[in-house]
């Protein structure tokens, strides 16, 4: 009996036991969907609460809920943050199907039984920790670089999540690497979530319905990355009426159009962005050789196929192009497509089956001379089939289980001449193929009114497939330590002694991982709880990146014969407390994370177009720990949060700093953020955010020497120095225009036109925060210098947003 059969038996057995335990007689089920009353969008995470039993559930990703209760007459409250709640009296003598529409506060509500929205204690009572959900409406108030609404910039203001560089959309979570973050857009992996060297993320705020980020306690349905999951859902499109909205900024603009295909049954949304600052470059002497732009497009549509079936199709395509003179240029693009089929087997069993396509590619062009030029490309393509099932036993018990299979195709490098005269001949590194399977079970159970747990297991398998040639190395390892070599008396040596060839389709290497997940919540009172979580995660794809930001030179490489899967174990303990009838949320979480087989780049690694990349990286270890404090107010005229993190993140690898532990590149001891938004009047809103952080670590020069007539810095230990501390204040003012009647136009019926001006200032007091520090010789004086490079001074911007 092989390993896969073992897993299947465990999953089936485990599932059937839970089913058997949960059989109850005399119960009836209330199920349905909860939607936005104005747009028809499904509401994710809306609450369904049974007053008499003091229990309830929430809607899943598709707005579906199911509640099994004993016979009786109950008051059921349906609510969602920012929406008026709806209360229904239900006689539970038979199964009910009840779709509910909730309306945003301040709008005229049709429901008879309507109450004002009140803050709930979800953050205290939910069986989750280390997860934060932000309302996209709140995100739109946060002052952001160049006024471009950006969910990634917003999450970087949350505890434990830090920007990887000033103004950068790449981020680190609880001391993990940049590539330890799983970024999902409608279930499709986004391999590079940044535009324009990381200044903007790929997420268009107008097209996003909902997102949340897990920093720990990651549910078993997610896998493939060590540190976090950013799960982003696109809007489905307004199923009731045609609407359009957009924004015109100084450097880019966006436009979204949505509406019903068949009213209340199917809808679509198309949302596009394009930068146009390159149009002005020809007017500048310095910039006329620079070509740079980004653009992206989100499309989504859905069809109701019957009472039990619904189909969603969504896609994203985005492209960046940057050309610095005629000499060099680079670009990258993400393309994703997701087809999802929701099926309701019964009022208790909900399923979703998805087919997902993802592609990420980059190109780097060098054009030295007419006969010396080339373009180098690299790409990764995934095809994924996955099924998730959700069985709602009772308000106490909710089971999720499913599986997925992904076929990865990685092209690590292709070189082609740009002109026919080029002396460079076409070349390509061998394509790498891999299969990635996973199966999971996740059960949420309320043991009592105070104690609840969510526990699960994920099994992941990663297989390398031929055709492939695998190098063989001296001493059986691509890197062995020579103690009598190198600058500090030791160096990693690689020596290829042969190779093995594997035929097309043959599986030549298999790795697997068992990934237990656990969340326990103990409700001390209605306002406070203690939570604990543990998760183990495996990562089979690794980003090889050397530049400080995403510049299109980085690439993904799979686990294989020599590169082991990265693994992390994380434990977290948290105390959650709400004040002032849940108006103020407070939490403190402590965590400790161990990482093994982290991918560390050797000093001076030769990474580009290298067919034995395993010789340029070494296995490392990581450890990170910290305390995160978070206070948030989500309702009222003044909203915002205060976040403070004290943490440490370190790495260790053979051949780096003589094997001693050293600071991670983005290790920051202190990280404080303050975000506030205040509604001065119905038409004026003021927002500000402030960040203070310990400086990143960097590798300092400690000496200098001369070789071939040139002065060369002699560097000390990796990441053994700190750049100056970081601090920044941003401010924005939003002015809402008075709504005006708009004439009917094409599909748009008689509607009101809404406009708003957003004036924002990034880095209000013009702080020159260092991006990098490098060491070089002054060509005029010959003196050695340390040079700080900063990207942004004060950056004002203005955006006009409209909606009709």
């Amino acid at each position: 009996m092989n390993f896969k059969i073992h897993i299947l038996i465990i999953l089936l057995f485990g599932t059937s036991v839970v089913f058997a335990q949960q059989k109850r007689e005399g119960k009836h089920t209330l199920s349905g969907n909860i939607k936005d009353a104005k747009t028809g969008e499904d509401l994710i995470g809306a609450s369904i609460y049974v007053e008499e039993l003091k229990t309830g559930t929430i809607t899943n990703t598709y707005g579906f809920y199911s509640l099994s209760l004993p016979k009786g007459n109950y008051s059921i409250i349906f609510s969602y943050t920012g929406y008026g709640l709806v209360k229904k009296q239900i006689d539970f003598s038979e199964d009910h199907k009840l779709n509910i529409e909730l309306a945003e506060i301040k709008r005229e509500l049709k429901e008879v039984e309507v109450n004002a929205d009140k803050p709930d204690n979800k953050n205290v009572s939910q069986t989750k920790m280390s997860v934060i959900k932000l309302d996209i409406k709140e995100v739109k108030k946060i002052p952001i670089l160049l006024g471009e609404v950006d969910i990634v910039k917003a999450i970087q203001l949350l505890p434990g999540i830090q920007a990887a560089g000033d103004g950068n959309t790449l981020y680190t979570v609880r001391g993990g690497n940049i590539d330890h973050n799983l970024v999902l857009l409608d279930e499709a992996v986004v391999y590079n979530p940044s535009h324009v060297v990381g200044f903007f993320s790929v997420f268009n705020g107008d097209a996003i319905k909902d997102f949340e980020i897990y920093k720990g306690g990651i549910p078993a349905e997610y896998g493939g990355r060590l540190a976090s999951v950013l799960d982003v859902h696109l809007k489905e499109g307004n199923s009731k009426e045609y609407t359009a909205n957009g924004g015109i900024g100084i450097l880019s603009s966006r436009f979204t159009f949505e509406g019903p295909i068949e009213k209340n049954k199917s809808s679509f949304i198309v949302s596009a962005r394009r930068s146009y600052y390159d149009l002005f470059f020809p007017f500048s002497k310095d910039l006329k050789d620079v070509t740079t732009y980004f653009g992206d497009l989100n499309i989504k549509t859905n069809f109701k196929l019957g009472e039990k079936d619904k189909l969603y199709i969504s896609g994203y395509m985005g492209r960046d192009k940057i050309g610095l003179s005629s000499l060099l240029g680079f670009g990258w693009g993400n393309y994703t497509a997701t087809a999802r089929w929701n099926h309701m087997f019964s009022s208790k069993l909900f399923s979703n089956t998805s087919f997902v396509f993802t592609n990420y590619d980059y190109n780097f062009d060098l054009n030295i001379a007419k006969n010396l030029n080339f373009t180098r490309t690299n790409q990764i393509t995934d095809y994924t089939l996955k099924t998730d099932l959700n069985y709602f036993f009772s308000p106490k018990s909710n089971l999720k289980f499913g599986g997925s299979a992904t076929y990865h195709i990685l092209d690590p490098g292709k070189i082609k001449p740009i002109t026919s005269e080029s002396a460079i001949t076409p070349d390509a590194l061998p394509t790498k193929y891999a299969l990635d399977y996973a199966a999971y079970v996740n059960h949420k159970y309320n043991f009592s009114s105070r104690l609840s747990a969510e526990y699960g297991m994920r099994v992941s398998i990663f297989q390398n497939i031929g055709s492939s040639t695998v190098n063989q190395y001296q001493n059986g390892t691509p890197n062995y330590l020579d103690k009598n070599y190198g600058l500090n008396g030791e160096i990693l040596i690689s020596n290829i002694i042969g190779s093995s060839y594997y035929n097309s389709g043959s599986i030549y290497n298999t790795n697997y991982g068992l990934e237990p997940r656990l969340n326990i919540t103990y409700l001390v009172s209605d306002e406070s709880s203690v939570k604990v979580s543990y998760n183990r995660t495996f990562q089979y794809l690794h980003l090889i990146q050397t530049t400080a930001a995403s510049t299109g030179q980085e690439f993904w490489t799979p686990t294989d014969t020599y590169i082991k899967p990265q693994m992390a174990d994380q434990v977290a303990l948290g105390y959650f407390r709400n004040f002032m009838e849940n108006a103020i949320e407070f939490s403190v979480e402590g965590y400790y994370k161990w990482m093994t087989n982290t991918v560390e780049i050797k000093d001076g690694a030769d990474l580009q177009f290298n067919n034995h990349i395993e010789t340029e990286i070494v296995e490392g270890k990581g450890r990170s720990y910290g305390l995160e404090f978070f206070v948030r107010k989500q309702r009222g005229k003044t909203t915002g949060w205060l976040s403070y993190t004290i943490s440490k993140s370190e790495r260790q690898a053979e051949g780096v700093n003589n094997g001693d532990w050293y600071a991670y590149r983005f290790d920051r001891t202190h990280y404080l953020t303050f975000v506030v938004s205040h509604e001065l009047s119905k038409r004026v809103n003021v927002s500000a955010n402030f960040i203070y952080a310990t400086g990143d670590s960097y590798t300092p020069a400690i000496g200098s020497y001369v070789v071939n007539g040139l002065q060369v810095p002699l560097y000390g230990d990796r990441n053994s120095a700190r750049v100056p501390n970081y601090n920044r204040l941003d401010l924005s003012v939003t002015l809402l225009q008075k709504k005006t009647e708009a004439k009917p136009l094409w599909l748009f019926e008689k509607r009101k036109f809404e406009g708003s001006w957003v004036f924002s200032v990034f880095n209000l007091y013009n702080q020159h925060n260092p991006y990098t520090i490098n060491f070089k010789t002054n060509p005029d004086t010959g003196a050695n210098e340390a040079v700080k490079t900063y990207l942004f001074g004060i950056v004002p911007s203005v955006t006009y947003n409209f909606k009709f």
């Binding site: 100084i250 450097l251 460079i424 000093d603 000496g703 020497y705 120095a721």
Partner: protein, 283 residues
């Protein structure tokens, strides 16, 4: 009004896209001086040498101290050749030394009670079949770097009109052999900044072998200009050293900066630098 708007936007874009640099003072501890080796075995008669210096603290304004009291030996084919100090940190063999090609060379340095060793292989280089030039007319406006002798190359902008110099050769060596080409409009011996702008590194596994190819110098020349070209074979260690140097020095700071790292060395025992053997062609 329109012009003002364009100006305003241009200023704005410049603020965003152009990073700024400031010289800052950072605390740097003194480092222990390390031996720096620069050794070249060259097929030109009497041009082989080993040059020894020591590193200094980063902010030190001292001149780089030369090492004149080391014992330097180069071995090949069972022979030991003593490189004697000739002053100013330079060690040379007795006159008349011409190293044989396709031979492995070992360096042994005894200094201050420590032994430093290195090995390299002298590969034969191809011969240049002939050199010609072709006049190319500038397309588009001239950009920065297009002025002066040797301009119009990687300095940015579009190359100006001028003659492009082409070298023609046939490489019959096995794939995986390396060549570096240096060129300038002045005498090569005087050039100090050659790594960055005037060197092209070639890995022959990326070019056509066993058939004649032309290599065009990435500059355009005017009547009266001079150009000096030198081609050297080198082993992978040297190629790697040059690549690392280029990666470290040519990557702009900010988002594009590669992590700083010490240059690789093929000298064992804790020294810095390189030891290389090259077959050489000069034009």
């Amino acid at each position: 009004m329109k012009n003002r708007l364009v100006l305003l936007i241009m200023i704005f874009i410049s603020m965003i896209l152009f990073s700024c640099q400031q010289i800052i003072s950072v605390d740097i501890p003194d480092s222990t001086p390390k031996l720096v080796v620069q050794g070249e075995i060259l097929t030109d008669k009497d041009s082989s040498y080993v040059y020894l210096t020591k590193s200094v603290s980063y902010y030190s304004n001292d001149v780089y101290p030369t090492v004149n009291n080391a014992v330097v030996t180069v071995s090949y084919n069972g022979k030991n050749v003593l490189f004697k100090p000739v002053g100013n940190g330079v060690y040379k063999p007795d006159s008349g030394f011409v190293p044989p090609i396709n031979t492995q060379y070992s360096l042994n340095i005894n200094y201050d009670g420590n032994t430093y060793t290195s090995t390299t292989f002298l590969d034969q280089l191809f011969n240049i079949d002939y050199v010609d030039s072709v006049y190319t007319v500038q397309t588009g406006g001239g950009g920065p770097g297009s002025g002066g002798p040797g301009g119009g190359g990687p300095g940015g902008g579009k190359p100006r009109s001028g003659s492009s110099v082409r070298l023609w050769w046939t490489d019959t060596r096995m794939p995986g052999k390396y060549t570096y080409i240096r060129f300038r409009h002045t005498q090569l011996e005087q050039q100090q900044d050659s790594f960055l702008r005037n060197i092209v590194l070639l890995d022959n596994s990326q070019t056509n072998l066993n058939s004649q190819i032309s290599f065009q110098l990435p500059r355009r020349y005017q009547p009266g200009d001079s150009v000096f070209v030198i081609l050297k074979s080198c082993d992978y260690n040297m190629y790697y050293f040059f690549q690392a140097y280029r990666a470290q020095t040519s990557s702009p700071p900010g988002p594009f900066q590669t992590p700083p790292a010490n240059l690789p060395t093929n000298v064992r025992g804790g020294a810095i630098g390189y030891f290389v053997a090259s077959d050489i062609r000069k034009l």
